[in-house]
Every structure is written in structure tokens, then in C-alpha cells.
Amino acid sequence: MSNEQNMPLWEVFIRPRTGLHHKHVGSLHAADSTMAMHAARDVYTRREEGDSIWVVASSHIHASDPKRSGENFDPASDKVYRHPSFYDIPDEVGHM
């Protein structure tokens, strides 16, 4: 039943509560977006995990190539000055 043609894969994103981001929680098989929404509700929100659901066809997601991890991510490793950690925060500001 869950072959790729009739039952493609969907990625599920749940927002735990208003004001937070939708977070990827997993995937499931469904015939279309309506059924994917039902399945997401049944599979991923049974324990009050969230108040909003997004489903996205997995085929619509473009992922970075693991083989290019080196050129994609390594150049950032020695640019510590990109972290805003070189400022002196006046005491009056308190916790930031």
C-alpha cells in the first residue's frame, strides 16, 4: 500500500505552542496533503505535542550534499569574530 507512487513521503513539522517555531519531527506516508495532515495529527500530536502542523512533500525538500560538507561548512570554523562575543556589556544592561 505504501509504495512511493500512491503513498509518497511527507515531512512533518510541529509547533509546540504559539510563538515558537515549527520543528521537524519526522515523516510519514500519505496519498495527498489532506491525508498527510490527518496522519500527522494521529502520529505526532497524540500526546499534546503541539498546536499547529505543517506537512511538506519530501520531494519538495532540497538537501545539501553531504559530499560538499567540507566546502559548505568548514570555512566557518575559524571565523570566531562572527559571533557577537567581543563586546563589553555595561553592567546596567543586566542579563542579555
Binding site: 510519514l28 489532506t34 496522519a39 494521529d42 502520529v43 497524540r46
Partner: protein, 250 residues
């Protein structure tokens, strides 16, 4: 205590227990993981509603029986669920259609129960309506997709309609007790429920490319305790544990 009210509350509770039990039989056997969670989810909704109704029945009866005594320790003739809910799962198409028929009826039932003169039932209706509305939506979407799906799924859906439609009349049967409740403003007018039910099913059938069959005669009897052969097996499984291990708890 009101005998007619008790009688009808037990009927509604039985509908929910048996319907929930049938759905629970799919647990671990569903065609896909997603439905393996969905059907027991719905089963738990129905069994939860049954618990509230049996507890209320026990209170109305006031003879020291508990919800479990009602659910597990009666004989087959004492169960008064409609025959529709005890029909075997057969296949996924049969199951989705059976649940759609029942859930659509209950949706309009609970909707009108918001105005019921009975406070317990009116309170339950607000919780139950949210649960049952999802059952209608979920089962309805499946009926549309199977009815208007492949040649095989359409055939299975149409077989399910032939097999189950004769059992739908009983949902709207009004016996003396229920009439008593309707007159007192506890239960809704069933002719009106039937119109609402029919309109919803008609709309879904158009989308599903299904046709309503001619019903030769309606299958009824459950409300009087006269069940189909499959009911014995269902009860055997349902009652095995509390009968073999009385008072078991965990």
C-alpha cells in the same frame, strides 16, 4: 432513577463500546503504520465516551454496579448496541464506511445534545463532538479516496456499501424509552437527525462516486438485544479477561 433514560443511555454506551472494540481489533494489523495509530486513537475516543456513559448509567441505576459491570459482565442479550457497530471489520473499506455511518450519526446527535435538558449528557456532548467530528472527517476522506480510487478500491468500497447500508436504518429507530427522552427534551428529534445524516452521506458519496443501494429491508434487532452471529465472538474476546480474572487490575 429514570428507567427510560437508563435504558437509552445504556444503548448509546453499548454503541460506543462495541464500535471502539471493533476499531481496536485493527491494532497491529492496519495496512500502514499511520492507520495503525489512527484507528486505535479513534477506538480510545469511543471507549472513553462509553466509560462516561456507563458511569452515568451506573449512577442512574443506583444498584451498586460499576462501569465495568456494564461493559464486561452482561450477557449478549443485555447489550443493546445497534447492529451496524458490531459488523465485522472485513477489510479497510468496510471499516471506514461503518465508522463513517456511525460517526456521522453521532456527530449530529452530540451537536443537538448541547441543548439537552440532561446536564451530564450535555456536558459530555461538548467533549465528544470534537472527537467525533474528526472521525467523520477522517473516515469520510478515506471513503472518497477508496471510492474514487483504483478499480480494486472502488469495488471494495462498493461491496462495503452493499453490505452495510441495510444496517443504517436502525440508527434512527425510536423505541418507547427514547421517545420518552425526546418528549422531555433530553434527546433530539430523530427524523431531523436522519435528514442531516443523509445529506452528509449523500455529499460524500457524490465525491466518492458511490451510489446508494436500494434497501430491501432494514436489518434491525440490536436495540432489543438480538444480535448477529459475529457478536458472540466479539463478546468472547471483550469479556475474556475480566471473566477469567475477576477484579484484575494493573
Amino acid at each position: 432513577m429514570s428507567a427510560p433514560l437508563l435504558h437509552t443511555v445504556v444503548q448509546i454506551a453499548d454503541d460506543h463500546l462495541i464500535s471502539g472494540h471493533r476499531l481496536s481489533e485493527w491494532c497491529g494489523h492496519a495496512p500502514m503504520l499511520e492507520e495503525d495509530l489512527s484507528m486505535p486513537n479513534m477506538a480510545l475516543d469511543l471507549i472513553g465516551q462509553a466509560r462516561t456513559l456507563y458511569s452515568y448509567a451506573a449512577r442512574l441505576e443506583n444498584k451498586g454496579r460499576t462501569e465495568d459491570d456494564f461493559a464486561y459482565l452482561r450477557t449478549d442479550r443485555e447489550y443493546q448496541n445497534c447492529l451496524l457497530v458490531e459488523r465485522p471489520n472485513t477489510d479497510f473499506a468496510h471499516t471506514m464506511l461503518r465508522q463513517l455511518y456511525f460517526a456521522t450519526y453521532m456527530k449530529f446527535f452530540w451537536e443537538s445534545m448541547h441543548e439537552s435538558s440532561d446536564e451530564t449528557l450535555s456536558a459530555l456532548s461538548h467533549k465528544a463532538i470534537k472527537e467525533i467530528s474528526y472521525h467523520v472527517r477522517h473516515c469520510g476522506e478515506w471513503v472518497v479516496r477508496l471510492g474514487d480510487g483504483t478499480t480494486e478500491s472502488a469495488e471494495k468500497m462498493s461491496d462495503a456499501v452493499q453490505a452495510l447500508h441495510p444496517y443504517t436504518e436502525e440508527l434512527f429507530e425510536v423505541d418507547e424509552s427514547r421517545q420518552h427522552g425526546i418528549d422531555k427534551g433530553i434527546f433530539p428529534d430523530h427524523a431531523n437527525l436522519k435528514t442531516q445524516w443523509q445529506n452528509t452521506i449523500d455529499a460524500i458519496f457524490v465525491q466518492a462516486k458511490l451510489t446508494l443501494p436500494e434497501i430491501g429491508f432494514a436489518q434491525t434487532g440490536g436495540r432489543k438485544g438480538l444480535h448477529t452471529e459475529d457478536f458472540g465472538m466479539l463478546l468472547a474476546q471483550l469479556q475474556y479477561l475480566p471473566r477469567a480474572y475477576p477484579g484484575a487490575s494493573w
